[in-house]
Amino acid sequence: MTDLISFLLLYAMFAATLCFLFAMLFVHDTRHWWMRGAVVTVGLVAVALPFFLAPKTLGFPSPWPPEGRYELLGWEIDEADGAFYVFVQPEGQAVPRHYRLPFDLAVALELQKVTAERSIYKEMTLEIAKGPKRDQPLYDFTFERVFPDE
């Protein structure tokens, strides 16, 4: 929540700097040195603020996962929020990604079971396909046991 509030505050400051520059567009007397200085300073602040905004939302999950096959590295079940948060590695990419998937009770129970017996699985994958809405993709978890016959 703190991240979100500081994000909103920084964005409000950014919007205020742009409003100031908009106002200066229609003020015809910018001959005073202090007014020119203020315009340049506010302009620089307007450019710099978005770079401070970026870390506020970095690391948060994306609710729009692209279709594809991923190696499943970790997950968190949030029943209250109605979501699965998954930590996945896209095939052929070095950097993992963090996605939010819609909650499903049967899948939650299966994930809970896998969490308890994690060491017996050698490969865990997640397949994401296009769903009815952009933030409601279809997905399928696959867990391959080390000893399939057990």
């Binding site: 929540m1 703190t2 991240d3 994000f7 964005y11 950014f14 919007a15 742009l18 520059l21 908009f22 200066m24 567009l25 015809h28 910018t30 020119r36 315009v39 340049v40 302009g43 307007a46 450019v47 603020l49 978005p50 770079f51 905004l53 970026a54 870390p55 939302t57 970095l58 690391g59 948060f60 999950p61 994306s62 609710p63 729009w64 996962p65 590295l73 970790g74 997950w75 968190e76 949030d78 209250a80 929020d81 948060y85 930590f87 590695q89 070095a94 950097v95 993992p96 990604r97 963090h98 996605y99």
Partner: protein, 155 residues
């Protein structure tokens, strides 16, 4: 990449407004207004591009580790964790880390039932990461009692 393109576009839009303020060219004014309107949206669009990507600036604090992955080719540790005391949405962080440090860290982490990681520092990418002995707060200490156990007015 598209994130940087959007931020580059933002710098361009602000420059157009500044040039318009100082040079007062009549034809540039509508362009500056359009640039300002576009500039308002560009930071939000660039934020959407970065959702799901790891944060390279983890704030100091304690984190409950959900999962982690070391990319030893790039000496980068990716941590999927929940910040203690913050909201319950997990975050993903990336920290420069080598294989030796990672093995030492996972060896010590195995001793703890609750894997709580403390991240400190970050000056020059040199993060100090240790497991801490975490005791969950006792919500029933003191005179706290369950609602159903509390005396009723007619007791």
């Amino acid at each position: 990449m598209s994130y940087l393109v959007l931020l580059g576009g933002l710098v361009g839009c602000v420059l157009v407004i500044l040039v318009s303020v100082f040079f007062k060219w009549r034809w540039l004014k509508p362009l500056a207004v359009a640039a300002g309107a576009v500039a308002l949206w560009l930071p939000l669009l660039s934020q959407l591009q970065t959702l799901g990507a790891p944060n390279p600036y983890p704030p100091d604090g304690d984190y409950r580790i959900i999962s982690s992955k070391l990319n030893d080719a790039h000496d980068m540790l990716y941590i999927f964790a929940e910040a203690m005391g913050a909201d319950t949405t997990p975050r993903m962080y990336q920290i420069p880390f080598d294989l030796d440090r990672y093995e030492r860290l996972t060896d010590t982490g195995a001793d703890y039932t609750q894997q709580i990681l403390r991240i400190e520092g970050g000056n020059g990418d040199d993060y100090d990461i240790v497991y801490v002995d975490y005791t969950p707060p006792d919500l029933l200490k003191g005179d706290m009692m369950r609602a159903y156990r509390s005396p009723r007015p007619d007791d």
